[in-house]
């Protein structure tokens, strides 16, 4: 923790509030993420994880509070800012008619310092289905393409909304290794997940989001200690029981 605390904050979300009609998604969410670390965000469905990510990547504007990513307000930030931020959305966001083999090199051209596309695709096993249109891919294959799309610009900050959902164990293990490498090169990596195993294996820090707020933030050990639990799963249920919608 002492090493992590000395790293600069790449993501600072402070007291965010956001409502949709009569539904309140965020009620003062405060969270930070540092370069070189993987921050896993856990929470029940509807807790506000995706809303927080979408504010951090500039897709939504908070009703209150402040979001700073790489020192800038992501809402309305320019191309130079977006050049440094990689995003994997929950719904993928991939055009359905194109093949991964055509899409990934195209996306790489939009960035100033792209990664080597064949190498990245190879790490994620994409060449095996690279010539198949996205609409014909399985859920897990689409996840891998969406993850490659998020990382292809060699981001300084990566927001990955459930990147391993639907992946088989081998693919999940490879993604975990890849994300550790990405963080190891200095990228602040924010991962939302429902998997305790994933958070345990991947996270330098864990945030547990409950009902639009961060109920706990710290290393896995710190979160467990704070909740009086012996493991992350027990801590999670102690923090979220009664709040799950």
């Amino acid at each position: 923790m002492s090493q992590g605390a000395s790293r600069p904050c790449a993501v600072e979300l402070h007291d965010l509030t956001r409502s949709f009609g009569g539904t309140t998604a965020l009620r003062g969410l405060t969270l930070d993420a540092r370069g070189g670390e993987v921050t896993c965000v856990l929470g029940p469905n509807g807790a506000g994880k995706t809303t927080a990510v979408e504010i951090a990547v500039g897709l939504q504007r908070p009703d209150g509070g402040q979001a700073r990513v790489l020192g800038r307000d992501p809402w309305g930030a320019g191309a130079a800012h977006r050049d440094r931020v990689g995003v994997m959305l929950q719904d993928g966001g991939l055009p359905q008619a194109v093949t991964p083999q055509a899409l990934l090199p195209h996306l790489a051209r939009l960035y100033s310092r792209p990664l080597d596309v064949p190498e990245l695709a190879g790490r994620l096993g994409i060449p095996a289905f690279g010539r198949t249109p996205v609409r014909r891919l399985s859920g897990g294959q689409r996840q891998r393409v969406a993850l490659a799309a998020a990382l292809v610009g060699d981001p300084d900050v990566a927001f990955l909304d459930e990147p391993t959902a639907g992946l088989d164990p081998h693919a999940r293990r490879e993604v975990h290794t890849l994300l550790r490498e990405v963080a190891g090169h200095g990228t602040a990596t924010v991962v939302t997940t429902h998997s305790f195993e994933e958070a345990q294996r991947l996270a330098d820090r864990v945030a547990v989001v409950v009902d639009g707020r961060v109920a706990a933030l710290g290393s896995v050990e710190d979160v467990c200690l704070g909740a009086g639990a012996t493991g992350l799963e027990e801590a999670y249920f102690a923090l979220t029981d009664g709040a799950a919608r």
Binding site: V57, G58, L59, G78, A79, A80, R82, D83, R84, V85, V87, L89, D91, G92, G93, L94, P95, Q96, A97, V98, H106, L107, R109, L110, Y111, S112, R113, L115, D116, E119, L120, R123, A149, L151, G153, D154, D156, L178, E181, V182, H185, G186, T187
Partner: protein, 258 residues
């Protein structure tokens, strides 16, 4: 993986990103079978079919006395613009919102403004190819356009395409994908048949009123250009007005997700 930040970032020029996206979009449009059916095959079938029969009368009003193919071809060109700029774009936009494509591309350096610019550029590029193809078929069928009409026709196509793309953004950017699919096809049928596109508004009941439609204005401007070699300023004004109004409306209606 070579993920280490080994080089400094030198941002690619915005124009290069837009052109890369425009090329990507244009190739996507040209490879899309259903899109080609509506934007190329159906207009060519209309051209060939209507050139072989004498009904309905097309050479009416100020175009009376002109050869049928000379009045028909500008209408088919207008139909091509309607198909690509309105129907195709509205449907594509509706489904890209559904799939989250617009949101994802909005988070890349391209951004939302760059994406809209790229889409417009792609439509204009694809339209150019389609119009050249339809024009070539028409020439084979005996079309003899007034060369003095090329410039006014180019302006009419440009203004018409922008107005129809803006209308597509109003529909495709606001409704659910399935509703867009149904509505855009219905509008295509209605405007192709009764919107002053293939048949001049003057040949239809309520002609003066219909001539205020963007499709009728586009059709009339192209007929005046290629049959008479003249500028139809009122029609060009109608197209400009539609473009401005629809553009303003699209700014209010366009949502980036379904």
């Amino acid at each position: 993986m070579s993920a280490a930040p080994t080089t400094t970032r030198v941002e690619a020029p915005a124009a290069r990103r837009v052109l890369a996206q425009a090329r990507f979009e244009a190739l996507g449009l040209l490879r899309h079978g259903e899109q080609l059916l509506v934007s190329v095959v159906l207009p060519v079938l209309a051209l060939v079919g209507l050139s072989l029969v004498a009904f309905p009368e097309l050479a009416v009003g100020r175009w009376s006395g002109a050869a049928r193919i000379d009045v028909l071809t500008p209408g088919v060109l207008a139909l091509t613009v309607l198909s690509t700029a309105f129907t195709g774009q509205a449907i594509l936009l509706g489904f890209e919102r559904r799939w989250g494509v617009l949101r994802l591309l909005g988070t890349t350096p391209l951004g939302r403004g760059g994406l809209l610019l790229a889409k417009t550029t792609a439509v204009l590029a694809v339209l150019t190819l389609q119009l050249l193809l339809v024009g070539a078929v028409a020439l084979v069928l005996g079309w003899r356009p007034a060369l003095a009409g090329v410039l006014p026709a180019v302006l009419a196509v440009g203004l018409g395409a922008l107005a129809l793309v803006a209308l597509a953004a109003c529909v495709g950017g606001a409704l659910r994908a399935e509703a867009v699919l149904a509505l855009a096809n219905l509008v295509w049928v209605l405007l192709a048949g009764f919107g002053g596109t293939l048949l001049p508004a003057a040949a239809l009941p309520a002609g003066p009123l219909l001539s205020l439609l963007p499709t009728a204005a586009l059709g009339d401007a192209l007929r005046d250009a290629f049959v008479l070699g003249s500028w139809n300023w009122p029609a060009l004004g109608v197209l400009l007005l539609w473009g401005l109004l629809a553009g303003l409306l699209a700014r209010r209606l366009l949502r980036w997700s379904d």
